[in-house]
Amino acid sequence: MRVVLQMRPEPDVVAAVINPDVSASAQEVSGEVPGVALDPDFAPVPIPQPVPASRAGDPLSLEQPFNFSMAPENASVLVRGEIQDYNIASRLAMLATARPDIVGISSDPVIETMPTCGGDAPVGDWHDVEGSLTDLRSEGLDGSGVSLAIVDNGINTAHLSQVLGRDVSVDAARSFKPAGTAAQFGQFPVDHGSMCAFDALIAAPGAALLDVPVLRSTRPGSTVMEGLLSDAIAAFAHLRTLLEAMPVEQRAMVVNNSWGSFKPSWDFPPGHPGNYSDNPAHPFNLAVTALERAGADILFAAGNCGRDCPDGRCGFTDRPINGANSHPRVLSVAGVDTRKARVGYSSQGPGRLTLRKPDISAFTHFEGSLAFGEGRPDSGTSAACPVAAGVVAAVRTRLPVQELSPAQMRTLIRRTAEDLGMAGYDFDYGYGIVDAPGITEALRRRQKNGRR
């Protein structure tokens, strides 16, 4: 978090800041401030002290005439710096205690226009997204030979073929659906799952789509558009079995998950042994670990509970990135629009199973699949997640798990991300936006060093 510190240093230091002929740095004004990285580019600013115009004035009221004193013994000085987001309230309290010459601390938010929110028109289209990924395509990285599982509410290949102008199919023999799900693979109503498949194919048009419509479960307790976590456990067990059946030198599977749990009331409370949201030992979180250990690259959407304009379904009052969406062995994906600005609904960290969530950001809120009709965007972190999953599938084209483990893949994606927001990691954008040029450059360096 960027902060402005109002300090009252010795009068001679204030005098130096006030004097236009003298250049005083933030370091000279404040010295080292514990836990704060001072911004050396921000010239300290003198602030006059308001003094009641009348000697009998109320020293604590702003409702009176004032004179403003720039006398060094009265004035204060502003410096700027950054302080860690985690436990911000206690950090600020400790800071004020550690440095009595700090007389005020305030946040210094980036001044920006209203972020993109749910219901807003598309920002750009999928060709803009595709344009940012040309480096992958020119290296021949298109997802060929890679299994790309869309764990969602089903894919409609006829719709995808029509929008993309080419034949799209799913690998029905290796797809999975909960018992009792009526429709055939690739023939589900055009909806969220078709959007996810479309967005994954932007970077990985050669990947083999696996249709895994767990959100179409008809099990008691589920509804038309919701599955139960037990269905996802069964789906992940199926995917793990598939992966283990592949020859080791060909193992390459990416699993997209643009779904999650919105309400803590659907769960046992944190601390209960059966809890899901905060419990790495919940069976689904163990299933995620087992699938990753078998070699899958697993991506989860961060969720749509961002502070600026959360989805109306959000029930978590804080730390909405929960359960497997915050699992240490997955990439958790936040959303940015094609102007590279965070969309206001993209959930912010820290996560519940892992603090550093989201991991990365990817494009969303663009016109793409038309799954929700003409003029309506592919939106939510639901769209950002498959955009990133497609990039991971593209990287896997020539790098099976034997060459690059899922953990190494996550490191590659994080390390090459284009940093957005605050310098380094932050809870809005993670390590930054997935960056195709950065990835291809890293892969070239890898090859130079004698590896695939």
Binding site: G118, G119, G227, S230, A234, S258, K263, P283, C309, G312
Partner: protein
């Protein structure tokens, strides 16, 4: 008594290659108390942990059964999109009661 749907998620530790019948025998569960369509799902081969769905009553009976764990939360999962416009809650209050 009304028929209870088997939606309670439990896990059991069993040897590799175990079947639903093995799990039911181990946990003392009758055939009407388990979701046979869901079956026995291998969650984690390393821990030899299997999942199954049983009735709430059978799940409650398991407390302390050898190798049995649970009940575990089995919450609803929803797609993360499209996000609703600010101020619109698409989730009626009466949907707050399910899951765990």
């Amino acid at each position: 008594m009304a028929h209870q749907p088997p939606t309670t998620l439990i896990t059991v530790t069993l040897p590799p290659g175990s079947t639903l019948q093995d799990a039911m025998r181990r946990l003392g569960i009758a055939s009407g108390e388990v979701d046979e369509e869901y079956g026995l799902v291998l969650v984690d081969p390393e821990q030899q942990s299997y999942a199954l769905l049983v009735t709430e009553e059978a799940g409650a009976r398991l407390q302390g059964a050898r190798g049995g764990h649970g009940p575990h939360a089995n919450p609803r999962m929803e797609p993360f999109g499209p996000p609703s416009p600010p101020g619109q809650d698409r989730s009626p209050d009466d949907r707050d009661d399910g899951g765990a």
